[in-house]
Structures are given as structure tokens and as C-alpha cells.
Amino acid sequence: MSKRNAPEVNAGSMADIAFLLLIFFLVTTTLASDIGINRRLPPKIDGPVDPPPIRKMDLFEVSINRNNNLLVEQEPMDISQLREATIAFLDNNGKGNCNYCKGKQVINLSSHPSKAVIAVSNSRETSYSTFIAVQNELIAAYNHLRDRESVRLYGESFRSITSKWKAAEDGSTEKEALKNKRDYIKSLFPERISESESES
């Protein structure tokens, strides 16, 4: 009886098959991690309520009209200037009782960062991208000021503290310490942004 050896399978095309699969997964992969701007909506209130007293100087009004133009404190403004204007407003120190502010103490801007409120109002026809751009600039202003204080107090930026805090292990003392730092910086410049829809 002749003993036949099984012929060897040619594995040369294996690479081709693997490449095909690889390309398929390369194309379908979205390594997207979800990013975005976090917001907290105000709870629903029944019936009319008196708005809390806010001094005129402490309110920073940003309106966006249907043509996506900005009106900041009754003055037309380009979005590229919004960040600077917001920083000037928050950091103004109108009463002179904020020892970490470096503002110019102008009479018609905020008295203290903890009192400052930013009111964004938009028309129904405002485009979403403009709205996000405005929100982004406002957050950028807060981040700029928080970074400044954070570097002064702890020698590192607010964002680096935040990312370390997120990466730290739950329940560790390090996380607790970072959280305290972060909360303190946040309390220096609390984020108070209201969103509303205007009639027009």
C-alpha cells in the first residue's frame, strides 16, 4: 500500500484574507469617545415665581438673534470678542472686595465673581452651532480664570487637576484631595449661566 502524504495547504493567501478583514474593521471603526458640554437644566416650577434679585451690574446679557448675530449688554459684538468681554465682566471686582480678582473695577460690570450671572437668550430661529459657539466661549472664559487661580494656588491648571481627579482611583485620598482643590477653584468662579428663549 502506498502511503500518501496529505498535500500542504498553501497559506499564502491567508495574509490577503486578514487584510480584507482588517480593512473592513478599519473603515467601520469609530473610536469616538463622547464629548460635549455638560449642562444642568433648571427644575420645573409651577406657577409664576418672583425672579431672585440680581443687581443690574451683576447680570451679563447675551442675546442671539435669528440671524445669529450677538447682542452683548445691548451692544452688537462679534463672537471672537465674547471671550475677552466675559473675562472682563467676571473678573471685574466692582465692589473691590474680591482679593483674587484682577479686573478694572468698572462700574457697570460684575461686583464679585460669585454674584455674576450670565443670561443667554436665543430666538427660535437661532442656529444650534451658534448657540454652542457662544456657550463654548463662555465656558472658555470661566476656564481661563479658573486656570489662572489654580496655577497661582496649586501650580497647575484647573484642567490638569480635573483630568487627574477623573483618573484617580475611587475612594483614594488622592482623589479626595484633588476634589477639594477642584471644588475650591470652582467656588472662586462659580459657573452661573442661564439659558432662555426670547419672544422675537
Binding site: L21, A32, L41, T126, E137
Partner: protein
């Protein structure tokens, strides 16, 4: 004769490609593991607006997605006005968001309800009126944690 110059003219041996499949398989497995298949088929255009002051969403907390935008090409049967899409269905009446939130709350269980986040994935050209309506509906059911989903980029640049 020099020790290093051996008689010249000798051809280089062919490089073995036997390990090529191994390398490709390694890459393949990486992408297979890292791939997240899209859960929902989108009936709408969904180009997110760009922003650079963004936070990463916490993967540990449960997320529900609310999509909105104009119906995409091939889905013109839904009209041309911007609409909301929840899971796999187009929604003509925004009040259905209330049911959607309720379903998601049941899904994640009682202990996680407080952490539930509504991520708004809205097309950049959508009017704010629709988003205002969505926010109003979320407030109705006390779903206050929201996130405006964006992509990284400079928002002040006009596109």
C-alpha cells in the same frame, strides 16, 4: 582578499513574509476589540457642532441619546423640517420624549436614575426652537442632567 567583501555578485535572499499574517491578525484583533458598532440607524443628518471647551462623558454613568436634525437623503418621507429621533424611530411629537425618558429609567434601574444623562446629538444647522422644546420636555420629567454633544474644533470659525 578582504574579510568583508566576499566575492561580490551574490543575490540577497528574499525576505520571508511568513510572519506578515501574524502582524495583520494582531492589528485585526485590535480593531475588532476597539470597534463599537453604531447602535442606531440615523434617519437624520447629524453633523455635530464643534467646541473646544469640552468634557468627556463619564462612561460609568448611563447615557441616553436624543438625536435631532433634518431628515437625511433617502428619508425625505419624514419631511424636510428638523425632527427628533429616539432610538430607531422618528418622533413627530416632542412629548414622546417623556415616555422615552421613562423607558430608560426603567432600563437602568432605580439606583442609577439620578446618574442618567441625556446626551443631545443635534445637527449643527438645527434651529434652537426645537432644542428649546426638547429641553422643556426633559424638564417636565425632571431629567435635568444633559449634555450637548460636540466634536473637537474651533467653534468661532465659520464653515
Amino acid at each position: 582578499m578582504s574579510k568583508f567583501n566576499k566575492g561580490g555578485g551574490k543575490e540577497l535572499p528574499a525576505i520571508s513574509t511568513a510572519s506578515l499574517p501574524d502582524i495583520v491578525f494582531m492589528l485585526l484583533f485590535f480593531f475588532m476589540v476597539a470597534t463599537v458598532m453604531r447602535e442606531n440607524t440615523l434617519f437624520i443628518e447629524n453633523t455635530l457642532p464643534s467646541a473646544d471647551q469640552v468634557e468627556k462623558l463619564d462612561k460609568k454613568s448611563p447615557i441616553m441619546y436624543v438625536y435631532a436634525g433634518k431628515p437625511g437623503p433617502g428619508y425625505k418621507k419624514y419631511g424636510t423640517e428638523a425632527k427628533v429621533q429616539l432610538d430607531d424611530k422618528m418622533v413627530s411629537n416632542v412629548t414622546e420624549i417623556q415616555n422615552f425618558v421613562q423607558e430608560n429609567r426603567n432600563r437602568v434601574g432605580e439606583t442609577q436614575v439620578g446618574k442618567l444623562l441625556a446626551a443631545l446629538k443635534v445637527d449643527r444647522s438645527t434651529n434652537m426652537g426645537l432644542i428649546g422644546d426638547v429641553k422643556e420636555q426633559l424638564r417636565e420629567v425632571n431629567q435635568l442632567k444633559i449634555n450637548y454633544a460636540t466634536v473637537n474644533g474651533d467653534p468661532t470659525k465659520k464653515k
